[in-house]
Amino acid sequence: MIDRNDVEHVARLTRLALTEAELERMRVELNSILAHLDTLRAVDTEGVEPTAHAVDVVNVMREDEVEPCLPQAAMLANAPDRSGELFRVPRIIEE
C-alpha cells in the first residue's frame, strides 16, 4: 500500500503540481492498479534473464562525421521563451 506521503514524494520527483483532490484520487487509483500488478510476484522467474528489448540490439556505431543539422532558428521557433540564441528559463540560482 502506498500512502499520501509516497504520492507526494513521487509527484515531486516527476514534477507534477497536483491539487489536494488529485493527490487523494491518485493514492486510491495507484493502490488499485498496484494491487493488480502485485500478481506478478506469484510468477516464478528464478534464473530468468530480464528482457529490456524485443530485438537483441547492440550498440550501433557510425563514423563521427559532421553532418548538416536543422538550423538554430528552426529549433528555437517552438520555444515558449527565448533570449537571442538561447532558451530562457526562470531563475535557477538564488542571487
Binding site: 516527476t14 522467474t45 517552438n78
Partner: protein, 483 residues
C-alpha cells in the same frame, strides 16, 4: 471513389478513369460531410493535400507515377511529426507544437507520392484504448456513433472506416493499431519491432512502440507497409534487413501452413459473438487447406501486468522532456521547478498523470526490482513461449480483442479499460508482428477482428494468411451507413 481501396484507385489512375485531384477533393468533401459526427481528425491540411494531389496528377498524366501509393489520400495519427504542420500527440501540452522536420515514415510516404489529408485523433500520448481520452475531443465509431472506435489510434481507424481516408497510419504499443482496426472493421497491422523507423514519432514506450498501417483490405496494407518499412540510420533500433515485396506472396494461400490456436486467447467473459466469429474464421482457414494445431502461451495471463509496469516506466522517462523549456506549453512561475511542475500539471490529462506517477514509482529506489525487474523477466517468459510456439507452427490465429466496441464512458475504471488489450499486448512484449483483419459482426452489427500473429520479420506470411481469409469472405466490402 470513396471506399475504393488504394490499389483500385491506382488502377483507375493508370487507366485515366480517375485523377488524384478529383479523388482528394472527394475525400475532403467527405470529411466535411461526416467528420462533424465522427471527429476523427485534429487537423485537416486541405491546401497541402490539394497541392500534393496536383503534383501526383501531373505524374500520372505523364506516365511517371512514383508507385502504387501515388495519389493515395491518407491520414496520419497525430504522433507522426509533420514538418510545418502542428503535431499534438493528442495533448494540450503540445497544442501549438509545429515540428521543424518530418518523421522518417512521413518522409517515405511523401516520396511515394501519398496525399496526406491530415492528422488524426488519439488518446493523449497514445495512452488508452478508446480515443475518448484525447486532450481535444473524443472520436466516435462510424458503425455506431454512441460507441468508441478503439484506441489509441482511433482517429486513423475511424477515418478509414468512414471513407475519410483511403488508408492511414497509427502506432501500436500494446494494441493501438490492431484493436481499433478490429473495432472499426478495417485491416490494421503492427510490424515487427524495428521493422519501421521510430524517428520523428512522439515516443510512448520506446521498447514497444511501432508504426503501422490501417487499410481497407490486405493488399493495401501490404503496399502501405512496404512504403514505410526498412532500415533508418536515424533510429538505432531499426532492423537492417531487406524489405520484401509484401504483395508478392499474398496469392500463395494457406494450404500447407500450420496455424497455432492458443487456448489462452479464449477466456471467460469474452463476448460470445467474438468467439463464434473467430472460430468460424478458423474453420474458413481450415477449409482453405491450413492445418490447425493447439499451442500454449501460459504467460499470457501475466502479460497485462508486466506491460502495465514496463509501459508507465518507459513513458515516465520519455515524457520527462515536456518541461516547458524547449517547446510546448509553459505556465510561468517564479522558479524553474515550480514552472515545470505547473506546466506539466496543466498540460497533461488524468491518464497521462496516472501513468507517469505509476512509472516513476515503479522505477524509484526500493521498488525497481520488485516491479520493473520482475516485469522484464516476465517479458522474457512471454518471448520464450512465442518462440516455442513458432517452432511448431507458422502463424498464430486468435481474436484481436475479447469484446466489440464499447459505449463512450462505459469503461470508467482503468483496469477494465486495460483488459481490452489482453490479446494484443503479448505481441508487443515479444516484438513479433500481427495483423487484424475483419472476420464478421456481432448481433448488434459491430465489427470483429481476427488476429494473425507471425514470427519476427515474417510480415509477408501473416499478410498472406490474412489475404487468403479475406478473399474467401466479404466482410471487408461492408461499410458503415454514414451518409
Amino acid at each position: 471513389m470513396i471506399h475504393q481501396p488504394i490499389h483500385a484507385l491506382a488502377d483507375a489512375y493508370r487507366r485515366g478513369e480517375l485523377m488524384p485531384t478529383a479523388v482528394a477533393e472527394a475525400y475532403l468533401g467527405r470529411i466535411d460531410a461526416v467528420d462533424g459526427r465522427v471527429r476523427a481528425y485534429l487537423t485537416v491540411v486541405r491546401d497541402q493535400a490539394l497541392a500534393a494531389a496536383r503534383e501526383s496528377e501531373r505524374r500520372w498524366r505523364a506516365g511517371t507515377p512514383l508507385g502504387p501509393l501515388d495519389g493515395a489520400p491518407i491520414a496520419l495519427k497525430d504522433v507522426l511529426c509533420t514538418r510545418g504542420v502542428r503535431t499534438t500527440a493528442g495533448s494540450k501540452i503540445l497544442d501549438t507544437f509545429v515540428p521543424p522536420y518530418d518523421a522518417t515514415v512521413v518522409e517515405r510516404l511523401r516520396t511515394a507520392g501519398a496525399v496526406i489529408l491530415g492528422k488524426t485523433n488519439l488518446d493523449e500520448f497514445a495512452m488508452g484504448s478508446s480515443t475518448e481520452h484525447s486532450g481535444f475531443h473524443p472520436t466516435r465509431n462510424p458503425w455506431d456513433l454512441t460507441r468508441v472506435p478503439g484506441g489509441s489510434s482511433g482517429g486513423s481507424a475511424a477515418a478509414v472506416a468512414a471513407g475519410m481516408a483511403a488508408g492511414g497510419f497509427g502506432t501500436d504499443t500494446g494494441g493501438s493499431i490492431r484493436q481499433p482496426a478490429a473495432f472499426c472493421g478495417v485491416v490494421g497491422m503492427k510490424p515487427t519491432y524495428g521493422r519501421v523507423s521510430r524517428y520523428g514519432v512522439v515516443a510512448l514506450a520506446s521498447s514497444l512502440d511501432q508504426v503501422g498501417p490501417f487499410a481497407q483490405d490486405v493488399t493495401d496494407a501490404a503496399y502501405l507497409l512496404g512504403a514505410i518499412a526498412g532500415h533508418d540510420r536515424r533510429d538505432a533500433t531499426s532492423i537492417d534487413a531487406p524489405v520484401p515485396d509484401y504483395t508478392a506472396e499474398l496469392p500463395k494461400g494457406v494450404a500447407g501452413l500450420t496455424l497455432g490456436l492458443p487456448d489462452e486467447y479464449f477466456i471467460d467473459g469474452m463476448d460470445p459473438d467474438v468467439e463464434r466469429a473467430v472460430r468460424a474464421a478458423i474453420d474458413v482457414l481450415k477449409g482453405l487447406g491450413a492445418r490447425i494445431e493447439s499451442v500454449s502461451l501460459p504467460s499470457t495471463r501475466h502479460a497485462l501486468a508486466a506491460y502495465y509496469v514496463i509501459l508507465p516506466a518507459e513513458a515516465s522517462s520519455n515524457l520527462a522532456r515536456y518541461d516547458g523549456v524547449k517547446f510546448g506549453l509553459r505556465v510561468p512561475a517564479r522558479d524553474l521547478v515550480e514552472m515545470e511542475s505547473r506546466t506539466r500539471a496543466a498540460g497533461f490529462g488524468a491518464e497521462v498523470k496516472r501513468r507517469i506517477m505509476l512509472g516513476t514509482y515503479a522505477l524509484s529506489a526500493g521498488y525497481y526490482e520488485a516491479y520493473y525487474g520482475k516485469a522484464q523477466s516476465v517479458r522474457t517468459l512471454v518471448r520464450r513461449e512465442f518462440a516455442a510456439a513458432f517452432a511448431k507452427v507458422d502463424l498464430i490465429v486468435a481474436p484481436t480483442t475479447p469484446n466489440v466496441a464499447f459505449k463512450l464512458g462505459e469503461k470508467e475504471d482503468q483496469l477494465s479499460m486495460y483488459l481490452n488489450d489482453v490479446f494484443t499486448i503479448p505481441g508487443n512484449l515479444s516484438g513479433i508482428t500481427g495483423v487484424s483483419v475483419p472476420c464478421g459482426f456481432s448481433v448488434s452489427g459491430l465489427p470483429i477482428g481476427l488476429q494473425v500473429l507471425g514470427r519476427p520479420l515474417d510480415e509477408a506470411r501473416a499478410l498472406r494468411a490474412a489475404y487468403a481469409y479475406e478473399q474467401a469472405t466479404s466482410w471487408h466490402t461492408r461499410h458503415p451507413d454514414l451518409p
